[in-house]
Symmetry: C2
């Protein structure tokens, strides 16, 4: 990047593979510490070329086991892997992230794998923004594949499409009815459907239902979602899962969809950053500036309504 | 409100107790239909005097049963009640709201009770804003008490304090450890702690733990959270629960905290409205204006970073 100054030592350390510095800067990003900004800024030009694979799905479908086996498969293929487990729910969700940390097989002795849990410290937009920054740090750190797992929410996380280049939606056989309910949402995000626990009764039916859904649905940018069946107890299907992900990544390059997708992700990111910035600035001004405080008082007193005041405030932004 | 024009027919109908019109305008608010705006705006001066009781807590603590019995208690006291069940989770959460609609005892034959489920159609901020509008419609419609239940999220919803005048956090005995984890978050929002399923083993311990927590914690605006034990199977404690809520409402008036709380809620609401407005406007301009599109392209190409572009975009807002 032309205007980038000399590289801060922490940025250089991350590029050179220093995992302790990487972990520290990730914590800074997670905590909203401004010390991370010069590091992420200078590393930005080195990012955007790695597959970022989002793995989402309802609670209890076995996402973590699946990711453990996907990591093992990628190591067999001699690819390095970073995993980010994100809890997009409220900051006080009762320790699910902690549980996940324990549940996860961290492969602590393998330098080709990096694992990190991230809890939400603020609003939902804040987690998505922090997750994007963290995936870029992992990209700059040189990992071949970045996996993003959404944990603890008990639901399909649509925000994954704002972070991932390939999104995997994991389902299990008995969720057939849920698939119907989720239909619109799933097609919004799924590049790959993974029917996990494929050794359970009903797996064939679930797979057939998905095949029908995919056949009926309109393709997004020419890609028809792939459907794979996996079992983490056998285990089976893990190679197929990675092949389906790799096929989507190849499609992105071949079709030009990668750039269009990145454009959509970047637009959504900068809009979110501006929203955050405007919100923070406005909250501060409402505390400090008597004229603005007076408008709030009038809303409290019911002589003005919130929308009228919001319209006025929106006009004062940038005109100090 | 001085600048309010003639009252639209829908607003008049709501004030006069027409439940069909009320339900229709609530749907408009829920769907983001601009037809609702003149109605909510003209009704705004008639709002802000009713208790809005938020009921939150982890999944499975029996919030809905508790609310059913609280409604019954309020009807015994000859108070009319409106209940809004809000699902703050993702729009594709798998039908929990639908399930809740069925689970709920709607007292369809009692004109003194109004029940409404609301699903999230957009981001989290959007639900909170819609919920506030809906509680105000119910206030203008003349209900004596408005109950807001957060459903389907499996977590304590901190956003309830941006809507409710009194917040009730419901826990059950075996969640003792969870209480420790939730400590900070609970104290942030709880005006009343309700230990439900008080007939289960461990209820005394849970209650004692809470008493200790409350004794240790610093009071918010001079209020020390009340702790009540309830059982919906016996049933027992429901009168105590309402008394604790009513005591907090009296405290708000006596101490002047009601106005301070309302000021905080209004500030947070107008900031959120401005954020939404700025985000919508900016997303549209990024589509339409070549100069802004070019900035996004430079981020995609890694010649500018997202934060630099967000800073520039924030400066263009309001300066067209």
């Amino acid at each position: 990047m032309k205007r980038a100054g000399p590289m801060p030592p922490a940025a250089r350390a991350i590029v050179n593979g220093d995992r302790r510095v990487l972990a520290r800067v990730i914590s800074q990003v997670e905590n909203g510490d401004p010390a991370a900004a010069p590091v992420t800024r200078v590393l930005y030009p080195r990012t955007g070329n790695k597959p970022v694979v989002g793995v989402t799905g309802p609670l209890g479908v076995g996402k973590s086991s699946l990711i453990n086996q996907l990591v093992a498969r990628l190591r067999e293929l001699d690819r390095t892997v970073a995993v980010v487990a994100v809890d997009p729910s409220s900051p006080y969700s009762g320790g699910s992230v902690l549980g996940d940390r324990i549940r996860f097989d961290r492969r602590a002795d393998d330098a080709g794998v990096f694992f990190r849990s991230m809890a939400s410290r603020g609003e939902v937009g804040g987690v998505a923004a922090a997750t994007r920054e963290v995936t870029r740090l992992l990209d700059a750190a040189g990992f071949d594949v970045i996996l993003v797992e959404t944990v603890g929410s008990g639901q399909v996380d649509l925000a994954v499409r704002d972070v991932a280049t390939t999104s995997v939606v994991v389902l299990v056989p008995h969720l057939g009815d849920e698939v119907q309910t989720l239909k619109a949402g799933l097609f919004e995000i799924a590049d790959v459907f993974c029917v996990n626990k494929a050794d359970l009764p009903g797996a064939d039916v679930a797979r057939r239902d998905l095949v029908e859904l995919v056949a009926l649905g309109s393709d997004r940018s020419g890609w028809r979602p792939k459907i794979v069946s996996t079992s983490t107890t056998q285990p089976s299907g893990i190679e197929d899962l990675w092949s389906a992900i790799a096929a989507h990544e190849e499609f992105l390059d071949r079709s030009g969809a990668r750039r269009a997708d990145e454009r959509r992700r970047v637009s959504s990111e900068v809009v979110e950053l501006v929203r955050e910035k405007v919100g923070r600035e406005l909250a501060g001004r409402l505390e400090r500036e008597p004229a603005l405080r007076h408008w709030v008082d009038q809303v409290v007193e019911r002589t003005l309504d919130p929308h009228t005041v919001a319209d006025r405030l929106a006009k004062t932004i940038g005109r100090r």
